[in-house]
Amino acid sequence: MIEVKHLVKTFKSGDTNVDATNNISFKVPDGQFASIIGRSGSGKSTLLSLLGALDKPTSGSIVIGGQDLTKLSDHELITYRCKAIGFVFQGYNLVPNLTALENVMLPMEFAKVSRAERKTRASELLEQVGLKDDKQLRKPGRLSGGEQQRVAIARALANKPKLILADEPTGNLDSATGKMIFDLLHKLSRSENTTIIVVTHDLAIAGKTDATFKLDDGKLVSK
């Protein structure tokens, strides 16, 4: 269960304070596929950063699996991020000089998984997202956008996280590939019982998720 209570994140912009998220509260049950929608600047990415323990809120709390992220030290947050959260970015953000397989192995290395185990699991994950054999040994530059996003999804799943946060995962893809990626995330949330929260502009995609949260000017306007 993800439980967000009265979450506030304030940024300083010159002499004024801007509330990127303003007293947001919501709950997402385990294994649910949820979406966050809203206009640019509505606070979606900030909320995702807070949920992903990449940033600390100004006030409020985020409890994931009974653990309050706001009470963790920086070092604990790194460990938590490594083991409990997976990220999928709009621009894939794969390491360009590593192969697909090595990219998926990377988070497991940070989690101190043995080399043999991470190689086996990375290969399995890549097969699970539809990348087989020689494509696993290709560098990102030799893969299509859809394939790169599949690698990114496999990387997000590497340490069997409780939560996957996806920021516009289909934003750089054509509609057919986007649909394929969305279906893949949907399937994984079911098969792995992983909670997935997707930030998207695409209302059609949001409509297919289990729950949708709409943000406007940092406030949660509808659930």
Binding site: T46, S49, L54, C82, K83, G91, L106
Partner: protein, 474 residues
């Protein structure tokens, strides 16, 4: 794949950039190593010069310089008192005279092995000495034009193992005892050849038959036109019994040089000019000291330049990969692991640069050192024409002294002192460089230092990258 392999692979992400950085770093590290090689070679040379000439004190009669000037010779009795001074290891004494086979003052049948040439003739015309020995008009007026013959130098030494500042190198025959009065002598190679003398042959000096015990070679025409007697033999033959024209005191440690020099001056008073080789050594090695200083500054400059190159490179790389760093942090990478990866990358580039630099250092070490040393010592050294040493044969003559004995062949101090130092000074530019394991370790140590310093700022930048910024940039 781990931090090390990723760091190493990252170093080769951009081939052209890697090549450029390695080339520039190679030049920088190469210059550092070259300077290190020069510094060590010059340091060794300075140590050699100091150890060879640094612990002797030259004593000459006051007012005498070579065969010039005037004054009275030292007495053997007064010089012998120096042996009792604290820290004096040994005293070697010598007396000098000249043998000539022409004119009224002829005192030998030996023919000089050196032709007077135009220099000798000029010196002979300009000075009383030339007239006295060369032209046959003993004590003749300076400036008279007469045929001048270079005399043969006769030296009586208490320690016959040393001549011209180094161990006597016998090409044939055997040594003589410097303390025994016997009609035997060592003669220079050129003089022996000129007079068809071999070991066992005899020649005449001061009306006595002298047997050739050995033939020596100093490597110079001037010094090979000489005869070495034992000290008492030459004192007796040249009617200078009890006289000393130069002495060299050897001190047990260079740290006692100042106190012993003061004690010798105090003992001999105004009758002697006392010169510490410490001062002369300092003058001799002054050009080398400047080369050493230059090499240290260049070394530091090159290392700093290398560090700045790698620093700027790593700063550029971190800026370029800011997003990648943010993403790596987002997926669980700690600051330590990311910084380590970048340090390995910097180290890889630097080690490659060090390998290139090592090649440059090995190839460039010797010529650069020679160039630096020769430029610095040009003003300190002179090249002698064969057969000429100082102002021999001319100049201002003997002056008013009672004895014809000067202070030695060249300058103050005679054979055992000044000539030895002169040889050492001449050898200063002859420096051999060596690239041993020590230099290699120093080179790689410098490379690691450069990599660490160069990646320090990058590490600070990495630590400041916030992964949330990556999300926001998306």
């Amino acid at each position: 794949m781990n931090v090390f392999t990723r760091g190493i692979r990252n170093a080769f992400r951009n081939g052209i950039r890697t090549l450029s950085i390695v080339a520039i770093l190679g030049l920088s590290i190469g210059l550092s190593l070259t300077m290190l090689v020069a510094n060590k070679a010059v340091g060794n040379k300075i140590a050699t010069v100091k150890s060879s000439i640094g612990n002797t004190i030259s004593i000459a009669p006051a007012g005498v310089q070579g065969f010039e000037g005037g004054g009275n010779p030292l007495t053997q009795a007064s010089v012998d008192t120096l042996k009792s001074l604290a820290h004096v290891s040994s005293i070697s004494e010598s007396i000098n005279d000249r043998l000539t086979s022409s004119g009224d003052s002829s005192n030998t049948n030996l023919v000089s092995s050196i032709d007077a040439g135009s220099l000798g003739q000029r010196f002979g015309r300009e000075g009383g000495f030339g007239g006295g020995f060369g032209g046959g008009a003993s004590g003749s007026t300076a400036g008279q034009a007469q045929t001048f013959t270079i005399p043969v130098t006769a030296t009586g030494v208490s320690d016959t193992s040393q001549y011209a500042g180094s161990a006597v190198k016998l090409t044939s025959g055997s040594q003589i005892d410097g303390t025994a009065d016997k009609p035997v002598a060592l003669i220079g190679k050129d003089l022996a050849t000129k007079n068809n003398l071999t070991v066992g042959s005899t020649f005449t000096a001061y009306g006595s038959a002298i047997t050739v015990s050995g033939i020596f070679d100093t490597g110079t025409s001037f010094s090979n036109n000489a005869v070495i007697f034992s000290l008492p033999t030459l004192q007796r033959l040249s009617s200078q019994v009890g006289d000393i024209t130069s002495a060299t005191a050897t001190v047990d440690s260079i740290s006692n040089m100042d106190s012993v020099t003061a004690a010798v001056k105090s003992k001999l008073g105004s009758t002697a000019d006392v010169t510490s080789s410490k001062d002369q050594a300092a003058n001799a090695i002054a050009p080398l000291d400047s080369v050493k200083t230059i090499s240290v500054f260049s070394l530091v400059g090159a290392v700093v330049a290398g560090a700045v190159i790698i620093l700027l490179t790593m700063v550029m790389v971190v800026r370029e990969r800011k997003r990648e760093i943010g993403v790596t942090k987002a997926i669980g990478g700690s600051n330590l692991s990311i910084i380590s990866q970048f340090m390995v990358e910097a180290l890889t580039l630097t080690i490659l640069g060090a390998v290139v630099g090592l090649v440059i250092g090995v190839i460039g070490g010797q010529p650069v050192t020679k160039l630096l040393v020769s430029n610095s010592t040009t003003s300190a050294t002179t090249t002698a024409t064969p057969g000429q040493r100082g102002s021999f044969g001319g100049g201002s003559g003997f002056g008013g002294g009672q004895s014809t004995g000067g202070g030695g062949i060249t300058r103050r101090g005679g054979f055992g002192g000044a000539l030895g130092r002169n040889s050492a000074v001449k050898g200063i530019s002859n420096i051999k460089t060596q690239v041993g394991p020590g230099i290699l370790l120093d080179g790689f140590g410098a490379a690691i230092f450069i990599a660490l310093v160069g990646s320090a700022l990058a590490a600070g930048m990495i630590a400041k990258v916030r992964p949330s910024e990556v999300m926001r940039a998306e």
